[in-house]
Amino acid sequence: MIEILWFLVDSMLVLLLLALAWTTCSSRDVMRAVTLFIAMGLLLAIIWARLKAPDLALAEAIIGAGVSGALLLSAISDYPSTAITSHRSPLMHGIINTFTLALTILMSWAVWHGLNMSDGVRLSEQVSSQIPVSGVSNPVTAVLLNFRAYDTLLELAVVLTAVLAVLILNDKRADSAASSPLLRGMTRWLVPLLVVTSGYLLWVGAHAPGGAFQAGAMLAAAMILLQLAYPSIHRGFNLYLLRVLLVAGIFTFVLVGLWMMSANDDFLAYTPAWAGTLILIIETAATISIAAALTLAYIGGRPTGWETGDHVITGKEDAG
């Protein structure tokens, strides 16, 4: 009985997901596509929760539903036409459809075959045997910042490269119109709440789902909300500080790595006794860098006065 009900729940989730994906991809209007895409992000967060991946559910709820939705929506105004039309010929249409169908069948067979093969050595056993020396008790954080710290270092580099490209390519978008007083009122109590939640996610990441990425994206969402409610707030940014914050994560990471190399002969090989503290230090710096990067990506380019550094001082303190 319970199995059948679970199966029903699973099939409804899958059906909803596929329907949303299909309508997102076949929309004739950009606004409709983006709205459905945000709905798909919300649904994906539920699916990660169902598949017992709460870390991912957190990240998807923040990034999929909040940050990337806001990014795409602000980008809509960059394009003069929002009607989606396909310029492919009927023949090309047929070729693409056949190709996709063939690929789908091939991949389905591969997945079916792969899942029916005998279980090899699962990495999860190795991970859980090494958790006690990792300095944290949340396995995902242990993998990200201890066992596979290289990956995370390079990931921060990828984020930095992407935001550098954004900064090189464009000036920031024109300020949008003023917002409603109710929104500004809500922002005043919601933003502190978002910042506190971000700190909570950073702290809790050591022993429960959470961590630097979720916390950083949360902080970025707070900045995006501020930007939406007070469109001219970016004029108050301290641009020197912003530059420092942008590279703080990767700088701290490399510094810790080199320090540990002098002690343990290996880059990023933490001394187990200090591992917990070191991971928290790295995560704090990474949180701030990710938040700064995503905020700049949302603004869409260089803030006013980025090259010269003399920005318009409005008396507002920099928040991030």
Partner: protein, 104 residues
């Protein structure tokens, strides 16, 4: 448990296929980016479905960490692609303006 894994993996394959088809069909940047993101979500779903170990069991944390990295990289790549598209759009409108000037 295997049926749950199979169901979600096949859904991931379906998601990937839907995204791929739309990426190939559209020619505007924004819908293409959306479609590519749908593709990525399909890949993530296959990873997490394979990591799943039943209602009672503990899921494998390694794919979770990989996909977490993937989500952050995907959003950065999207931001970069949007910036490229915006630059392209402004260059195009500039060219169109200067051509219109020449015609007059």
């Amino acid at each position: 448990m295997i049926s749950t894994q199979l169901l979600y993996s096949l859904a991931g394959v379906g998601l990937f296929a839907i995204g791929l088809r739309a990426t190939l069909l559209h020619h505007l940047l924004l819908p293409r980016l959306l479609a590519l993101n749908v593709c990525g979500a399909g890949v993530f779903l296959i990873f997490i479905a394979v990591a799943y170990a039943g209602i009672e069991g503990m899921a494998d944390p390694v794919p979770h960490a990989l996909v977490l990295t993937g989500i952050v990289v995907a959003v950065s790549a999207t931001a970069m692609a949007l910036a490229l598209g915006r630059r392209l759009e402004s260059k195009e409108s500039e060219t169109m303006k200067s051509e219109a000037m020449k015609d007059e």
